[in-house]
Symmetry: D2
Subunit: 168 residues, 4 copies
């Protein structure tokens, strides 16, 4: 039977941006994940790690590799990655290539189009989506966005509409 431990890897991105009243900028401070998990009344045992906290447009290849290592070496098989939407698929691709055949990890990427700390955010919905997908799906790398579940190799961000779609 599946265990109830999950690794959540935060990497920055819109999901976790917060407004800085002094500078007037949206920046990364402490992750919103602990608060969100509390509000969700989540009883899964979650292990939260934050190797990187950047806007995904400036994420380096080395940082993507670091995220991939975090996934492949995770003691928990269920892994959720919170990631900026602009290059989420690029990192998911590297993760998919890092996990060898027969790897037992279920890695689900998600993010947000509007930060969790702003009204009208999609962050809580998306996290619920990704954490459920990680519990139910078979090993592999997935994207949970726009209320849907995609495999990493059949997903693209439609930047005009602000949604994720299948390639086909």
């Amino acid at each position: 039977m599946k265990d109830s431990r999950m690794r959540i890897i935060t990497t920055g991105g819109t999901f976790d941006k917060q407004y800085d009243a002094i500078t007037g900028e949206l920046t990364f401070r402490s992750s919103q994940l602990p608060r969100l998990l509390l509000e969700a009344r989540c009883t899964l045992e979650t292990h939260l790690v934050g190797p990187v906290a950047v806007d995904s447009l400036v994420m380096t290849e080395e940082q993507r590799n670091e995220i991939a290592r975090e996934c492949s070496q995770s003691p928990e098989n269920m892994v959720v990655v919170i990631h900026g939407t602009d290059t989420m698929i690029a990192t998911a691709t590297i993760v998919a290539r890092t996990l060898g055949p027969g790897d037992q990890h279920v890695v689900v990427f998600t993010g947000a189009m509007i930060p969790y700390s702003l009204e009208g955010s999609d962050a809580a919905f998306n996290l619920g989506s990704a954490m459920t997908a990680a519990q139910v799906l078979t090993p592999g790398v997935y994207i949970c966005m726009s209320g849907r579940v995609f495999t990493w190799d059949d997903c693209v961000k439609n930047k005009t509409k602000g949604i994720f779609e299948t390639l086909t």
Copy 2:
């Protein structure tokens, strides 16, 4: 391949309660679901029906049967039921018994401990969870609460802690 149409059945419950400034009571007005689906930027084709809007503590057997009929006769195989948490499992049990063997519906119940219109609500997270479970799971009746996925016959509400747990 799975289609992308989903039925969402709202039945009232804490999830959809709103504060009435004149009476000072939490009541049911129009469902919050359309707004929540918009904020979630959901691209699934959803069909929203609301046969019942009551506090689940006062839900009648006839109302539970009506919800079960809505599930079993749904043209969409993927069904999410928004339900009050206090008797969610009672209704899920009736739904499970109404769906005959070989039925192809995936019915996922969810609700909220705090209304969507209040701060700190678990509603958006739970909806994301249930809508994802409905897309990914095999036919059957499930409960998505507390960040977890339960089968209808192995789930109980811990009323002291305000969470859902397995029976065992």
Copy 3:
């Protein structure tokens, strides 16, 4: 010149109600005032006291007298009273009668039609209104509701519309 110290007396009322996820009721826990003053970035020196925390419909005469004593004995001349809207004027009347002629206190009552912890609340606006009125007005007893400033003896709650109006 006027000093910058203000007494804020919380008495319960809709303003400070919070949702209890376990019971599903709106109840009084710790006051929302400290959080609200922080968010308002308020630099006034405020002294917060909470002699009473009840729904104003069940407030006793003795409790109203206690609030009046808190006002008349306040070392700070500027006093804001957070009060349930249903009997706010009854208490304001007792406060006005308790403060003798020549009393230097400026006492401003306010409250909320929707609790601060719910979306769409008027609580923050009303607090800003009352705290400003207390700094600017001459000694006396006032009501700040519905975006307006009333004297205690020319104000009535229109329970149908959920607003405060002049008597005339």
Copy 4:
């Protein structure tokens, strides 16, 4: 007796910024004022005008003069100006010089350190403060920020702390 009509002049600034999910920027769309006045259950007759919608750091001298003309020519004596905090005092100074001696307008500037559409915003509190000050104060030009009331010529923004203070 004072009338109950008020002019509210929006000029952009942090107060009215909203997050654009597509660009990831905080921008100006329609003003939040109508919604805020509704939530405040405000019964004053307000006349809302928006001659300018810019970040106050890029506001031109001509735009400040336009705001000053809006104030001096306002048919309503009570005027509230929603303005970016960084150069609020510069515009208030021009307004004060434009209003000749004996002018009957009460002009109150306010703004926000955190946009109204973000959690933890000071916007609603500040608007309540400014609208009350405009009703109660004698003719002149004022700043309502940080829970206090300042005259235009005795106020400075402390950019490190994100608060407004007296000069002395």
